[in-house]
């Protein structure tokens, strides 16, 4: 049964019925990221796309309120018209799963706390998530946070909801912080680098006053790339600062080319075609890269990767293999702390409890979940079989 509620009251009734029958529900936006996480399927599916449209947008207040099911594309267009943007630069993962591009909803982006290359410099989706209204698993309409950029009234529940994959609250309305888009940008490309050399350069760049807004290593091209954004004179100056610091031959590409370059990094163009490959997302201390990256890639069949966030985020693709073997290799890589999630994998892999993170503190998370959704109605099992 598919539900497309258009009012909070309709949503309440659907959830109350599910609660009475003790039948779990899938809760999603447009479903572009349903392939992410454990494989679960439900008899009852609730789409929040009926809560669509920008409700209030005050550019000078840096705040936008919209229905949770509003297409991300619509929000980006409205912001662009005011020279503003979402600084956390959400990637478009749809095409990785064979969906069309540009189909994500803002609610789905926030629920997965999905952020792009600018994250270490500007913040993650969670950092821009100011408030929400929605319905919890008890069928109650709840709200938290606020509609202003600075607020510490009560617990910061938006943070908790960001990254909860719809397991706590079915969001109907969200408020986010928006910021001015940079006037211009350029990118610096350094060729012929080993992972170790690139890592060193990224560490220098990220600790410098050049203040890059993205830094990545593309092993297939042996390239480190850096993005500089801001006002015209500032970008020109910092580009020179960074070039001097790197002490290597560089190529500088201007705004348009720079944008395309980072879009392909952000949306993982290099991992789109081979959909049979397993795709992982690793987050680790940036200087831990390159560490054992060679050992990691050697240990996995037909492996490739991309290091973003100055080395702190690794997108890792490999051919299907035994999940236990892959998890062991990744745990070794995360020796200094960090976390790993399977983004894309075949069904049988996605039965495992290890797809979300090798180690989930289930007992603690269950208590938190019970505070919102005691029957575990929403997306039951999506994060862990016991969650």
């Amino acid at each position: 049964m598919d539900f497309l509620p258009r009012t909070q009251q309709e949503l309440v009734e659907i959830i109350q019925a599910a609660s009475a029958d003790d039948v779990p529900l899938s809760v999603c936006g447009n479903g572009t990221k349903q392939g992410w996480g454990r494989a679960v399927s439900f008899e009852r599916n609730v789409s929040l796309c009926g809560f669509s449209g920008i409700i209030d947008y005050a550019p000078a207040e840096l705040v936008l309120t919209a229905g949770a099911g509003t297409p991300l594309a619509e929000i980006k267009a409205a912001l662009a018209a005011e020279n503003q943007h979402l600084a956390f630069e959400p990637p478009d993962l749809g095409p990785l799963f064979g969906h069309a591009a540009e189909k994500a909803t803002i609610g789905g982006v926030l629920a997965t706390n999905l952020s792009g290359p600018r994250r270490p410099f500007a913040g993650a989706a969670r950092d821009f998530f100011l408030g929400f209204s929605g319905v919890n698993g008890r069928g109650e309409i709840v709200k938290a946070g606020g509609k202003v950029v600075k607020n510490v009234t009560g617990y910061d529940l938006p943070k908790l909801i960001a990254g909860s994959f719809g397991t706590l609250v079915a969001m109907t309305e969200i408020t986010i912080k928006v910021v001015p888009a940079p006037e211009t940008s350029c990118s610096i490309i350094v060729d012929g680098l080993s992972p170790a050399a690139a890592s060193q350069m990224m560490t220098v760049a990220l600790g410098s006053t050049a203040d890059p807004s993205a830094a990545a290593y593309l092993p297939s091209a042996s390239q480190a790339i850096f993005r500089l954004e801001g006002s015209g004179p500032s970008v020109v100056y910092r580009c020179q600062v960074l070039t001097d610091l790197l002490r290597a031959p560089v190529r500088v590409v201007a705004a348009a080319e720079s944008r395309d370059l980072w879009q392909s990094v952000r949306d993982l163009h290099s991992f789109r075609d081979n959909t049979s490959q397993i795709l992982w997302l690793l987050s680790a201390p940036p200087a831990a890269f390159p560490g054992d990256i060679d050992a990691l890639t050697r240990g996995l069949p037909d492996c490739s990767y991309l290091a973003d966030w100055g080395g702190g985020r690794i997108w890792l693709a490999h051919a299907v293999t035994d999940i236990g073997e892959a998890v062991r290799a990744i745990r070794r890589y995360l020796g200094q702390g960090g976390h790993a999630t399977v983004i894309r994998a075949p069904e049988d892999w996605r039965q495992s409890d290890r797809v979300f993170a090798p180690d989930v503190p289930v007992a603690l998370l269950r208590k938190v979940r019970a505070a919102f959704d005691p029957l575990r109605l929403f997306n039951r099992g999506r994060l862990h079989s016991d969650l």
Binding site: D127, G163, S231, A371
Partner: protein, 495 residues
């Protein structure tokens, strides 16, 4: 302000409780003599005072855990305390509760410049972190005005801001990891030196939880490279409307300054009389805008901001040409609180946020309220993010004035909520704004938050009487106990 009635069982058990604590923490680190405990009787909200049942000063995470286990076993309440600078009474002791001071956990554990982070204990002061890495050109960005005194643990518990949070974010945006001890003594670690740990963002939840969910025993903060240059601009305006319009125009031009502060006439006069910073005494509103970054960027942007200020009627523009001039521009703003302290025996600092466009209306209504309550008010304002700090002037020695100041303050905060804002932008709810929570949240919203507390502290022992206007038992709210990850009686149907 009513606190929960003291629990007579706790008062009776006090001697055994203190003895048990001393066994583990040592005699010197546990106090129960009221005279010795006097320094802990209040925090920055000095109108409220209470001698606690006992004070414990643990020296390690293990000792924090041991102390909490003992309190949990005795069923005795615990109030965590950092440096005690809270302006909302978050660290106000309870007569039947243990005050857990984190001041002895004051070591910087690790400075990791290649990962641009530092691992510190909760009692380290905010400024000490920046000092420790200043030589390498780094700093920790959130800068509450209390930064020489307040602890990083308190900053995390309050999600504190500062004048630079417009550009650099609040505490929550500058953290990587936390170690926390839950009320039953369990130690959990969240995050680390990496970003975004996946699944539920418990670190984000604990930040700003005002000591109600767990005791913070270790913090990993992000460090930033100090900007090459900072310059400040000062301008006076004939009305708060025109100053507000200038602020909106700066942001509309795509500029996010490092700081953007406004003061109203009473605040300008008090500050000028005190520090002689050269503030324009004929202005109704004064704007300070700071830009930071590379010299070329700062010079470019400061020119654009001054053009905007002039276009909106800004008068007497001053732009810093040296570090000394920059500091002088800030001197009056930074001294605003003590300056008010000079012209009034007491003042009460409020902290609401409003949509910036509503500022003129809010200031006008505040003037009316000032007449109504017969008390003066001066405003300093984090103009960039809409965070108001009205300072209400009163004299606690005059009967009824404290109550009048509190009533005035409540009216201001209700007004903030009415125009679409919130009760607190950075100082926290504590005891101060506890009873105003229902103006922003309905019963269901509050119960949702309280059930989150139950997930971590089902006996309501950690900092009770703060943040939430009612004390409800977890079972009454249907927060089912989930022990060891299992629901009780999983075979039974629910609801």
């Amino acid at each position: 302000m009513l606190m929960p009635p003291p629990d007579s069982a706790a008062l009776k058990a006090a001697p055994q409780f203190v003895a048990a604590l001393r066994d583990v923490l040592g005699v010197d680190n546990v106090m129960s003599d009221p005279r010795a405990m006097r320094p802990y009787e209040s925090d920055g909200l000095t109108a409220y005072r209470q001698i606690p049942l006992a004070v414990a000063l643990p020296r390690s995470t293990a000792e924090v855990s041991a102390a909490l286990k003992i309190a949990h076993r005795f069923g005795i309440k615990v109030v965590p305390r950092g440096a005690g600078t809270s302006l909302s009474g978050g660290a106000l002791p309870l007569a039947d509760g243990l005050l857990l001071g984190l001041g002895k956990l004051n070591r910087i554990l690790d400075i990791d410049l290649s990962n641009r982070c530092a691992v510190v204990q909760p009692g380290v002061t905010n400024l000490a972190i920046s000092h420790a890495v200043a030589g390498d050109g780094f700093y920790y960005a959130p800068d509450p005005s209390s930064q020489i005194a307040c602890s990083i643990g308190g900053n995390v518990a309050e999600n504190s801001g500062g004048v630079h949070c417009l550009k650099y974010g609040l505490t929550t945006n500058n953290l990587l990891g936390l170690e926390i001890v839950l009320m039953d003594g369990e130690i959990i670690r969240l995050g680390g030196k990496h970003l975004d740990s996946g699944l539920y963002d418990l670190m984000g939840l604990f930040t700003g939880s005002e000591g109600l969910l767990g005791v913070i025993t270790e913090v990993t903060v992000r460090l930033l490279r100090r900007p090459e240059k900072a310059r400040a601009l000062l301008a006076g305006f004939a009305t708060s409307e025109s100053a507000g319009a200038a602020v909106a125009a700066v942001i509309g031009a795509g500029i996010i300054p490092a700081g953007m502060e406004m003061m109203d006439r009473p605040a300008i006069h008090a500050a000028e009389d005190f520090v002689h910073a050269g503030y324009p005494l004929d202005a109704e509103a004064l704007l300070i805008v700071e830009l930071d970054g590379p010299q070329v960027e700062v010079d470019d942007l400061i020119a654009r901001v001054s053009a905007i200020a002039v276009a909106h009627g800004g008068k007497g523009l001053r732009i810093s040409e040296s570090e000394a001039e920059r500091l002088l521009i800030w001197a009056g703003r930074k001294a605003a609180f003590p300056a008010i302290g000079r012209i009034s025996p007491d003042y009460y600092c409020m902290d609401g946020t409003i949509p910036r466009s509503r500022l003129p209306e809010v200031l006008a209504r505040m003037t009316q309220l000032s007449a109504l309550h017969n008390l003066r008010v001066a405003n300093v304002f984090h103009a960039g993010d809409g965070n108001l700090h009205p300072l209400i002037l009163y004299d606690a020695n005059k009967p009824g004035e404290l109550e009048a100041a509190e009533a005035f303050g409540s009216d201001i905060l209700r007004l903030c909520v009415e125009v679409g804002g919130v009760l607190t932008g950075e100082h926290g709810v504590g005891v101060e704004k506890r009873d105003l929570m229902p103006t922003m949240f309905n019963e269901v919203d509050l119960q949702q938050q309280m059930r989150v507390k139950c997930a971590f502290d089902d006996g309501n022992l950690l900092n009770p009487g703060k943040v939430f206007p009612t004390l409800q038992r977890c079972a009454e709210m249907g927060a089912m106990h989930v022990r060891g990850g299992q629901l009780p009686h999983p075979e039974l149907p629910r609801f």
